[in-house]
Amino acid sequence: MSMTMSQKILAAHAGIESVEAGQLIDAKLDLVLANDITAPVAIREFLKSGAKTVFDKSMVALVMDHFTPNKDIKAAAQCKLTREFAGQYEIENFFDVGEMGIEHALLPEKGLVTGGDLVIGADSHTCTYGALGAFSTGVGSTDMAAGMARGVCWFKVPAAMKFVLTGAPSRWVSGKDVILHIIGMIGVDGALYKSMEFTGEGLHHLSMDDRFCMANMAVEAGAKNGIFEINSQTRAYMEEHSKRPYVAYSADTDAHYDEIFEIDLSAVRPTVAFPHLPGNTRTIDECGGVRIDQSVIGSCTNGRIEDLRVAAEILAGRKVAKGVRCIVIPATQCIWLEALEKGYLRIFVEAGCAVSTPTCGPCLGGHMGILAQGERAVSTTNRNFVGRMGHTGSEVYLASPAVAAASAVKGFLASPDELHTDSD
């Protein structure tokens, strides 16, 4: 029977020849993940389950990234509980302050996820690893607890939508613009319960960092997972990083897709999602100079080295506009160091940005850049729900690192092109 990429991975992990959309299966997991917010709940449930050990000490990852370095006493208590659990149960992949990074940037970098894997994480953006050709999806803490105990998880096999990418994006257009464009087109529930599968020759023009960003935001269209066909760039990335051998799955030529979209990358413009939904998109040309108080460049969506490179390119020799706070958060310690070595951090500080240690921070309104009532931020993060970055009367505009950096210089939503045509 013909299957999509996602269905092939599920079938292989369920130990059956084929699966079809809607089928309920129990499938073996390659990795289970939780963070400092979701792990405490998962640990409580794990202890209730009566399990004596985790299914595999090397296949559980606990990353302290959301409210760390501890933002308050309660956050400290949650990390302490998780740290003690990790010690007692000998979890090999426990990442604490000083070695941690934002989970979805960290795990691929550490080689803990690889192509063909089946991964669940108690964090909705676990779908990020689809960039590597893995089936990965967000679950809640109870699923994570059950996964830790049994090493298996129940799934309803998803139907799928196919996105065939063609052409090459123009300068300043990144994976972020492409995925915002797609979510704007299909809506925040446009892919509800389904897989979003990305293929086509346009893939070659999207870097791994672009793909991580796009797979990351599949959940913002309601998708169960986003997945990219493995090509030469994916192989090169995995050969450099992965700890385990990968398996490359591609869809059968006659696999069923509920819908097929062709996306011409050369036609995508820098795109911004206005408050309060990621699907509420406009091209930069339709933004009308919205004034901003803050620009955030970071997160599991856009805190990778290429994102910082683009921001540094734009901010080099320029200044953040008076009255704007620009906060740059490299997503992992490795990325932080690389940005240091390449001189990006100096550029940011000289431009008047604050540079932070890796953390989720303001992305979820945790700390390190909370908005007051009436304030507006342009942000490279992935959600702009009411109150997401602070007061319920504040606003978040989602954009690429290029737009966030250019807007920081201008003081209003702007494209980098606007900088090159004048003397900023």
Partner: protein, 163 residues
């Protein structure tokens, strides 16, 4: 299994950030979470909600983060069931796994008004609107999921070796 209560109605795309804002996620105590349930959307919810009440949402209820704190806060505030046109998938799993009853029914989501007296039969998926004298047919759960619910959630099902 049946539940009775009054409807508390909201719109489409109710996200987990408004169900339980992230600033309260430094706790996982259900009681503490329930004290802030729906706070960023409806400040009066906590004062208004009575044991047994049902939240009625539109499309994509529970979208956004995977925080199980969201269904936990709803369950702990006394809500007996959430009815919506569709649910975001992680919220759907989480609700089942922690034993919060949910039911998908587009007709009910559209026709029920705030304050209507409702009765839900989970075995048949039938929702009765006593205020309007109407019934709507929702989706009952498949067998596999009913076995999880019958055990009182996923963790109990594992402990009792039911799955």
């Amino acid at each position: 299994m049946k539940a009775c209560g009054n409807a508390i109605k909201y719109g489409d795309n109710i996200d987990t950030d408004v169900i339980i804002p992230a600033r309260y996620l430094n706790s996982s105590d259900p009681k503490e979470l329930a004290a802030h349930c729906m706070e960023d959307l409806d400040k009066d919810f906590v004062k208004r909600v009575q044991k047994g009440d049902m939240i009625v949402g539109g499309k994509n209820f529970g979208c956004g983060s995977s925080r199980e704190h969201a269904p936990l806060a709803i369950r702990e505030s006394g809500v007996s069931c959430v009815i919506a046109s569709t649910f975001a998938r992680i919220f759907y799993r989480n609700a089942i796994n922690i034993g919060l009853a949910i039911i998908e029914c587009d007709e009910a989501a559209q026709k029920i008004a705030d304050g209507d007296a409702l009765e839900v039969d989970f075995d048949t998926g039938v929702i009765t609107n006593r205020t309007r004298g109407e019934t709507y047919r929702g989706e009952p759960f498949p067998e596999f999921i009913r076995s999880i619910i019958a055990a009182g959630g996923l963790i109990n099902a594992i402990r009792d070796h039911r799955i």
